[in-house]
């Protein structure tokens, strides 16, 4: 292939500069209000090859894919818990080819999954406003372990919460009185290093 060094450099740059043109850096969904699929690795965006298999296999239909103009996240999966929470079926972890998700079995979920942490807004929660609710507890895949109900079914989230987001999906209050936040330094509800 006869190619001058200048042409070669120019085409490499062209390849790289096509990217900002597609909207690099313009995040579309508020990252603190989206979750990553279970067992996402720390360098998730580097690992994920954007094959979409996790979204296709998700039994809850909760995994969505960022559109091409989402910059660095384009093509990678995310979950909006208020739309649909994760069933903790672990299928996505088992089909991921790249190691972006670590394969686990359903019985490992409580130990291995940390998608975020649920927070109850006591000023919104129906049970704290005097109307016995407790829907979040019933929606949780680990009732009694991740979330417990006190007097008048007032919910309390425990450290075992895996952040699946089913409580947020089902909470009948508008806006949701229980919400799940990613536990990383960018999150408005970061608890600090564990």
């Amino acid at each position: 292939m006869a190619l001058s060094r200048r042409e070669a450099l120019a085409s490499m740059l062209a390849g790289a500069f096509l990217l900002p043109g597609t909207g690099c850096g313009a995040a579309q969904a508020d990252p603190s209000r989206t979750l990553l699929p279970p067992t996402a690795s720390e360098d998730f965006l580097a690992r994920c090859i954007r094959c979409g298999r996790c979204a296709e296999v998700c039994t809850a239909g909760c995994i969505e894919l960022h559109p091409p103009w989402a910059g660095a996240e384009a093509g990678s999966p995310f979950i909006v818990p208020r739309v649909a929470g994760c069933n903790t079926c672990t299928m996505c972890t088992q089909v991921c080819p790249s190691g972006a998700l670590t394969p686990i079995e359903p019985e490992d979920v409580l130990d291995a999954v940390d998608m975020g942490l649920a927070y109850v807004d006591e000023g919104l929660c129906l049970s704290f406003l005097g109307r016995v609710c407790g829907v979040c507890h019933d929606a949780c895949p680990f009732p009694g372990e991740a979330i417990v109900l006190g007097h008048h079914a007032q919910p309390q989230v425990l450290g075992a919460c895996v952040g699946c987001g089913r409580c947020e999906e089902r909470c009948p209050q508008i806006p949701a009185a229980i919400r799940v936040f990613r536990q990383d330094p960018g999150s408005p509800r970061w608890k600090g290093p564990a």
Partner: protein, 313 residues
């Protein structure tokens, strides 16, 4: 001879359409599985969506049940050709392995195994992936047909020639991935972004992205630079071309007698403007075989030949 050429073309179309249908089916199956997990009944799906969907649900279930437990079998059809699972077998673009490795990540075994399939295909048949399986190539061929029609009408159309930079584009993207710690191919690689757009359409019901990518590829082919994205820019094609430099299955001029000097039918029909009649078509030729159909003397054919290809560059 001509019957054989026609059969190969029919088989090629079948393969191309199957690859496209695979992408659509893998994405549509997501809904099927959600209904399976949620309701597990064609009758219920019929009541919820309508009878046609209920029947489609039952049909899919019956087809899958030939191969085993339907839900498990269905989980084996996932992804896009860049990183797919086909009947449970991995299929991976070698470039996705390169992009991952360039970021200092060890690609999992299944990805390495998956990359062996396209590499093996290239060692035997060169760029057969491009001509027989690539979903974007189908769009480009559609564009080529439209272009030919417009030319018959006498419209002046652009004909930008682009130097062959596929390997450099690939290298640039791998370096970009390494430097930025994120994948980049899905934004630039035509067949990947196209199939992602189509899959997203099937998953979410919004066609916008898929149609936009389809439209851009088509417009470039029809009005700007016919054949150039495949021949000169696509990094996957460039890698397969290098791997397949000595591939024994190739398109060749089987009849050594000289062509009449006035004839250039094969060149006019080649999507890349190559001239197989003069045996200058390698290494760009992807053995699509369109030229075999037009040669009045049947001088061109697919076949086996050992040793390096005679290349024009």
């Amino acid at each position: 001879m001509r019957a054989r050429h026609l059969a190969i073309q029919a088989f090629r179309r079948l393969c191309q359409v199957s690859a496209l249908l695979f992408v659509l089916y893998a994405a549509i199956s997501a809904h099927w599985r959600n209904f399976k997990v949620g309701h597990n009944s064609a009758r219920l799906v019929g009541l919820l969506k309508n009878e046609a969907w209920g029947e489609a649900y039952a049909l899919n279930e019956r087809a899958l049940s030939w191969f085993g437990e339907p839900l498990e079998v269905s989980d084996g059809f996932l992804g896009v050709p860049w990183g797919a699972s086909i009947a449970g077998l991995p299929f991976t673009d070698p470039l996705s392995v390169a992009a991952l490795a360039s970021q200092g990540q060890l690609p999992p075994t299944s990805m390495l195994v998956g990359a062996l399939i396209p590499l093996g295909l290239a060692l035997v048949g060169g760029k057969l992936y491009c001509s027989f399986l690539c979903p974007a190539r189908l769009v480009f061929e559609l564009g080529g047909a439209v272009r030919m029609g417009l030319q018959r009408l006498g419209l002046p159309l652009g004909e930008l020639g682009i130097p062959r930079l596929g390997l450099w584009v690939g290298l640039g993207l791998v370096l970009f991935s390494a430097g930025m710690g994120m994948g980049a191919f899905h934004l630039v690689l035509p067949y990947l972004s196209l199939s992602q757009g189509l899959a997203a359409w099937m998953l979410t019901g919004s066609a916008g992205v898929g149609l936009a990518i389809f439209g851009v590829l088509l417009l470039v082919e029809v009005f700007v630079a016919p054949g150039q994205i495949c021949r000169s820019l696509c990094p996957t094609g460039a890698v397969l071309e290098q791997v397949g430099r000595a591939a024994p299955f190739r398109l060749r001029k089987v009849d050594p007698s000289a062509c009449p000097s006035s004839c250039n039918l094969c060149q006019r029909v080649c999507p890349y403007g190559l001239f197989p009649g003069q045996e200058t078509h390698h290494p760009s030729c992807d053995s699509c075989g369109r030229c075999t159909l037009v040669c009045p003397d049947n001088k061109l054919a697919h076949g086996l030949e050992w040793g390096a290809k005679r290349c024009s560059d």
